[in-house]
Point group: none
Amino acid sequence: MHLFTIQMAAQLSGLSTHTIRAWEKRYNALTPNRSDTGRRLYTTEEIDRLSLLAQLTHIGNSIGQIANLPDQELKSMFNKLTNAGEKRTIQKKIDVNNFTDPKSTYQNLLMAIKNYKLDIISYELNKAKLNLPPKRFALEIAAPLLTEVGVMVARGQMSISQEHAFSSLLKFHIGHLLFKGYENKNKSQTKIAFATPEGDLHEFGILLSALICCQYEHEFYYLGPNLPAKALAEAVAATEADIVILGTMKGATEKEGLTNYLLSLARDLKPNVSLWIGGEAQFDTKAVKNMRNYQMIKSLSDLDTMLENL
Amino acid sequence: MHLFTIQMAAQLSGLSTHTIRAWEKRYNALTPNRSDTGRRLYTTEEIDRLSLLAQLTHIGNSIGQIANLPDQELKSMFNKLTNAGEKRTIQKKIDVNNFTDPKSTYQNLLMAIKNYKLDIISYELNKAKLNLPPKRFALEIAAPLLTEVGVMVARGQMSISQEHAFSSLLKFHIGHLLFKGYENKNKSQTKIAFATPEGDLHEFGILLSALICCQYEHEFYYLGPNLPAKALAEAVAATEADIVILGTMKGATEKEGLTNYLLSLARDLKPNVSLWIGGEAQFDTKAVKNMRNYQMIKSLSDLDTMLENL
DNA sequence: GACTTCTTGTCTATGTTTTGTATAAGTATT
DNA sequence: AATACTTATACAAAACATAGACAAGAAGTC
């Protein structure tokens, strides 16, 4: 388990180091382990506790009254105070800026995720969706949040369930933007199909790609994840799509499996269809190149320029 | 039990600190405990009393008349004065529409799926969403379509890609209804969490269940598919959910795997949390029953009655 | 109607407690 | 050597306590 210095604890909880020490000394709010030389070392649980105390005092509680309560009670207290009676305080904090500042949105979202405030997550995402064009929503909100959340989960600073709840909700909101995109009847010349290979269930790559595609008002067909090669080829033929964007994920498929998938796809796709491959999965580039031209999408902004130059 | 400072009491009751002190001094409206240094400390019951007094004076009662009444009488007085107003029924909300005929919607959708007309699918789903309450959307549109599509794919009358494209889109639309459900900040007593076990990626069961839950305006936490037992238990504890609805799928997990999952879950969940299991997956019912009560959800309409009788 | 009197929310004045932050001096880390 | 952490002490702003004052409105009385 990774331990944090007091400075990191301060940054993560939003308190000052002075305050943290004062709370420890005056109220025994918590008793962090010490290094051999006496320096404080905080666990993630302790930092969560500090964040919780920070939130509760910010709402109006006096630290002296709550410093000694067990984690459990702090959590349920926070739930009660933010759910039922006093939505005001938190609401106020959020509504300060009607025009969305991506940074504050981002911070609010992280805090909401940590506290399982799905309603607030949804509220913030909605606000961002309304105020930002799909491309910016994808590049400035969704993508960085996803990586940040991923990093935090890996570090043990966020739980899997928090990540799940958030990504489910984010998926819904991206989906909302996408199906609204279907309603734009402007038929562009190029049609784009999105899918991930069979066995690869990571959907966010193509979701975000589709959002960027929305921006350029291309006609698109979101076919979803985990699509067998034959099925994908058939769908592309039926829809007369010009471009296939394939999202891959490192580790989701074996190198050989993905290579075979791509070869099978190359065989079945009409020659005039472009194949764009995104993500970090490995495959035998030479073998595939022999059968068909394809392009790699190195990043979302890369995709952006590719679409722009179409 | 945690005690609140006068500031929190003021915030939560909507009064000013001055007024609270005045009511105490002049009318002995209540006698909060004091700290060693003489500061007022309020219990939640006392804050409830303050809120009640605030409400009643706000309506027009004079504080001098009611300040000394016992809690019981304040409550019944409040009930009498407020119950006169509206008693919102769910019924009224439901029967808005005569415009969408589920049958024609259903036929249009099947046709659109067959022709990869994603825009038409989206349009039809949208229309149904607008005209039908979530429950009817789930029971009359989404569920039968899903089974019908499944059957057609099995029979070879529909391709996997058509099924994929449709189910992705349907998922987005259900998600839309769900996150709109988060915006209703009705504070219901029961909170319900939705998830599927680790390894089980079939999401539609809990999606449709959550839709039905929306109807009854319960607070819900959609945690998504593929959630490890520990993570689920943690989320339930953090959100203080009362009911866990677990969607399972025949064949997604081995019988033994699901049994172990449920046993692990039973161990980690608080005893007052209800466990509802839906879907057709097999598990060792006796072993699980030994550890915890659970209920089986036999069908969506079964769930409907279970929620109704809550 | 005009005049008290009572009620009641708010404000002021003054002293105490709580609490965030700053300073100082020594030690550890980089 | 510069930066960061430690403890201990100091200080100032905010919050709270009590006591009393004030004003607008309600109610009672002449």
